[in-house]
Amino acid sequence: MGKTIAEKIFDAHLRDEPFPGAKVLNLDRVLCHEITTPVAIADLEVRGKDRVFDPSKIKAVVDHVTPSKDSKTALQAKMLRDWARRHAIKDFFDVGHNGVCHALFPEKGYIRPGFTVIMGDSHTCTHGAFGAFAAGVGTTDLEVGILKGVCAFREPATIRINLNGQLPAQVYAKDAILYVIGQIGVNGATDRVIEFRGPIVESMSMESRMTLCNMAIEAGGTSGICLPDMTTVDYLWPFIQSDYANKEAALADYKKWWSDADAKYEKVLDFDLSRLEPMITYNYKPDCVKPVRELAGAKVDQIYIGTCTNGRIEDLREAAAILKGKQISENVRGIVSPATPKIYQEALKEGIIEIFMAAGFCVTNPTCGACLGMSNGVLAEGEVCASTSNRNFQGRMGKGGMVHLMSPATAAATAITGVITDPRDI
């Protein structure tokens, strides 16, 4: 019987099975940020176990609130900073070098096919785009990961989702994943890995695959996952070129992770997206999804473009193409946050930052910022935000605020008119 990519990764990393079905895996990466890690550090200190299993496998960033906004967030950053220094964790990214974790770590080449990755952050599933098993965990799992380099999982079944056809113009990975979540529901993949397959996925850039995998958790998924192919090799090449004779050799090696043709899936879902429209969420759950045109004309107060879902260079290009030479409505505030310093610099070079600023956007430093209602654009009670982020829970971007999730193109179109607008109607 064949195996799925997730099963192959589990087999290759199995350290222990203390009870039937409970698999303890060796970890290749333990990723840390300043919100969930300081509590783990403090607990390790209290237990007299302030140690790390392998400083080269731990990567850390201050990203959620940065630069710190008050003494509490300053303390969180300081705890992470001091800890990274104390344990010689050299891949620690602080002010000036920091960016949103799920954009920054892949960009540094830290995530490779076949890896096991955990982080105290639910959107860790993003890294599955590289053919890794990447799961968000709580602080206790993170703590044990830091100390011992292991994490326990019930081996998840895999749901294979084939995205067939070809995405129409102005329709993007974000629209595709919103559509899928709308179809399977917020609970549709709980305790499952979602393996994204099909021609649409194969033709996607790594950035788009990350957008896709990023929102697997919004359907309850443990990890999204894509098979590593030449697009993956091309992306990783600067980091792996000394390991392989050429790109073909790298690809041949990565193919060992591919799901076998006779692998067993719990479910295989086929979606033909050739006629998909730009999608948007309404209400307070990410599976409340409909075509943008059905919500067209609804008033918004703020536009937020950025985050680990859609703050990458292709997202900024997509928005800038619509904003070029235009002004945003005087009824809205526009905020754009390039997800990493590298993305920011690329956007500067390409003239994208200029387009945003000329249109009337505020450009912030790379940070999670308003995505989780902590800084840089928190909503007032009763306000509505058109956002490229991934979560529309009540109060997510500020108490009493409402969030509509959408693609960068839809967000840009909405910025221009001040009301929800399909990018094809601009």
Partner: protein
Amino acid sequence: MKKVFGGAALFLDRSDINTDEIIPAKYLTEVTKEALKPYCLEDLKLDGFDPKGEKLKAARVVISRANFGCGSSREHAPWVFEVNDIHTIIAESYARIFRQNMFNGGMLAIELPKADLDRIFALQSAGTVSIAVDLPQQKVMASAGGKSETLHFEISQFDKALVEAGGWVEFADARY
């Protein structure tokens, strides 16, 4: 650190209660569990529920529906229950990370089929519902005003071991 399971029940009759509702992100700047205490379920909007009310203060068990604890990975969600002396959640199903976080902290996230849950919900008409948990026998006893229901629950050996060890740090440290 033996935890007490069972006691007065608080009913949250809705599916998909998310971690932002359990503990809003703005309190994630706290670096101690105790500091979270006053903010439990602060953003939950549900008929008949008041996050500042007596029912929550008295509660030792939360009873809810499907996909409880969905959303972010924040362990602050189980912690805010823990520091409010709620060490048991009973629901139809959980988001994976929340459920794991409960057991990792040595707490109980009990799953019951919908029909069994409905029987516990129905007891509310008889008065204040109290829950007793028998972990070795894997039984939940719910009682109110002279009526009671005894229900069996499934739990993996691993999850049981985590609760008995006091949590995953203790378990892993002893073993790896």
